[in-house]
């Protein structure tokens, strides 16, 4: 919980040692499954606002696999960054060195984000509700919080300025709550939520489980949700990570992760 919500755009959850899957491609962790599942939703012409941690991993993976043209925008002001390793912070030097353009922070938020030039925004949070609203501000009361989280950062305006919000968040009753302690960002533009258990899509204003990852049951996803979870009638299993995806992912991870 203490590490949740880091970055405003994307969380840096502590790695969980979960050998989540076994298939032709070998084994993978739940973090890897999340990164792979999110990367598949990016296309070659996506322009995406990326946070540190899993979103950065997912977007960089997409660039190395099926979407080499995907444009990565980091809120520090780097547009079209092409890092060779995963940055620890959103302002690492390599992002500026490899970017198509480096702009000031006011310009980034005014011209590029508010200007409607970014398609996809990744968000993480400590809590999510059934409508895709997110909390990355406090657990407990605002004035006397039990846990003071980092706060919204870019999230409030990312959530309303991009066309598609992708959320990455581990699924548990503590995170998937009936009622948020604080609404940091609105859910209207959330397209899907990738968790360690599956994928949810916002359909008719409410999140619905549309995929479960290999080895995960629908009941597990239900138990990890603090509300009565809707399950899509056409629910499928997530395609396991391929050899190519895992190889590209691990090359990225070993090159630069904390």
């Amino acid at each position: 919980m203490t590490r949740a919500g880091a970055g405003g755009v994307g969380s840096t959850e502590p790695p969980r040692s979960a050998g989540a899957g076994l298939a032709g491609a070998g084994t993978w962790t739940s973090d890897e499954m999340m990164a792979v599942a999110a990367s598949r939703r990016l296309t070659n012409d996506s322009v995406c606002f990326v946070g540190i941690g899993l979103p950065s991993l997912a977007a960089n993976l997409a660039r190395r696999t099926h979407a080499p043209g995907c444009v990565l925008v980091y809120e520090s002001g780097t547009i079209g960054a092409k890092p060779t390793s995963l940055p620890l912070s959103i302002g690492d030097g390599e992002l500026a060195e490899t970017a198509d353009a480096v702009v000031s922070v006011p310009e980034m938020f005014a011209y590029w984000l508010q200007g409607g030039r970014i398609d996809v925004g990744f968000l993480g949070a400590a809590q999510i509700d059934r409508h895709g609203n997110l909390n990355s501000t406090v657990i407990g009361d605002y004035a006397t919080p039990k846990v003071r989280l980092p706060g919204g950062g870019g999230a409030p305006e990312i959530a309303t300025s991009v066309s598609d919000v992708f959320v990455m968040l581990r699924q548990s009753p503590r995170a998937f709550v009936e009622r948020l302690d604080f609404k940091t960002s609105r859910g209207d533009r959330v397209r899907f939520v990738v968790t360690d258990l599956g994928i949810l899509e916002l359909r008719g204003g409410e999140l619905e489980l549309v995929r479960v990852h290999p080895g995960v049951s629908v009941d597990q996803a239900r138990e990890a949700t603090g509300w009565e979870l809707r399950v899509a009638p056409d629910i499928e299993q997530t395609e396991p990570p391929s050899r190519t995806e895992l190889a590209a992912l691990r090359a990225l991870e070993t090159k630069g992760r904390e």
Partner: protein, 270 residues
């Protein structure tokens, strides 16, 4: 015209208790040495303004320098919590900390408004969030279209403090790489202090750089590695290991206090 002075003189002359002070630098060029000088000189009751109060404000808050924080994201980037910030908010240690919390877009608009000598910044933001009830934001109607827009009061700090790569002998300042919100922070502030990696006879002109002419800066102090553990593009890299190590140093009050005593209070003033 900027005077080239020592960092301790600059802080002594320009920063007083109860001042509103903005130390800016978005991941890059964070003015850590200047913050350490504020701590060494024992400034109290400051209102600290900064988009991302990371390790630098964790140190100022933990040392009891701040009464209020104006910010948009308070974490240790890529690592996790800021424990001194949390301790101040959750347990009022070492002193209570008042918060004025914004979004990044709101903070950026507030700085840009301050630099432009406007009373408020305007943006499409905050609407539909619980931030509205807890911060200084209002909604105004566009006189041309009727659209409801968020207005944030301009930042007008007493002192803006940044770190840059270079100054020349006249006190002109040049910074490049990720330049964040530093230009706006300096121009929005009544006074400014710039620490630099080096003072050169003449700038090598860089088309992508931000240049702050000497006449918008009050004091320039030469402090090599003055951004560490942040970085200075072209001089040294971000000390990622330090940001990771800060987690353990900052988690415990006594460990933090001992670390600050050894590395900052008893450190050599610039």
């Amino acid at each position: 015209m900027a005077e080239i002075v020592s960092l301790s003189d600059a802080v002594r002359e320009l920063v007083a208790d109860e001042h509103v002070v903005a130390l800016e630098g978005f991941t890059h060029l964070i003015p850590h040495a200047a913050a350490h000088e504020l701590i060494r000189q024992g400034r109290r009751d400051l209102t600290l303004v900064r988009m991302t109060p990371d390790v630098i404000y964790d140190q100022l808050i933990g040392m009891g320098c701040a009464r209020k924080l104006v910010f948009s994201w308070g974490g240790n980037p890529g690592v996790g919590s800021l424990y001194r910030f949390r301790d101040a908010v959750e347990h009022s240690w070492p002193v209570p900390l008042e918060l004025e919390e914004h979004s990044h877009a709101g903070m950026a608009a507030a700085y840009a408004a301050g630099a432009a000598n406007l009373p408020f910044g305007v943006l499409r933001g905050y609407a539909g969030t619980d931030l509205v009830a807890h911060t200084r934001v209002a909604f105004v109607e566009c006189p041309f279209t009727g659209e409801q827009l968020a207005a944030v009061p301009a930042h007008r700090p007493d002192v803006g403090i940044i770190h840059a790569q270079q100054a020349d002998r006249q006190g002109n300042v040049q910074l490049w790489g990720i330049t964040g919100v530093q230009k706006e922070a300096v121009l929005a502030s009544r006074h400014s202090i710039v620490t630099v990696e080096e003072i050169v006879d003449e700038f090598e002109r860089r088309p992508d750089s931000v240049v702050l002419p000497s006449w918008v800066v009050d004091a320039v102090a030469c402090v090599p590695r003055g951004a560490h553990p942040s970085y200075a593009h072209g001089y040294y890299e971000r000390d990622n290991d330090f940001y990771v190590a800060w987690e353990a140093i900052s988690r415990d009050r006594d460990v933090f206090t001992a670390w600050m005593r050894e590395h900052v209070l008893e450190g050599v003033p610039a």
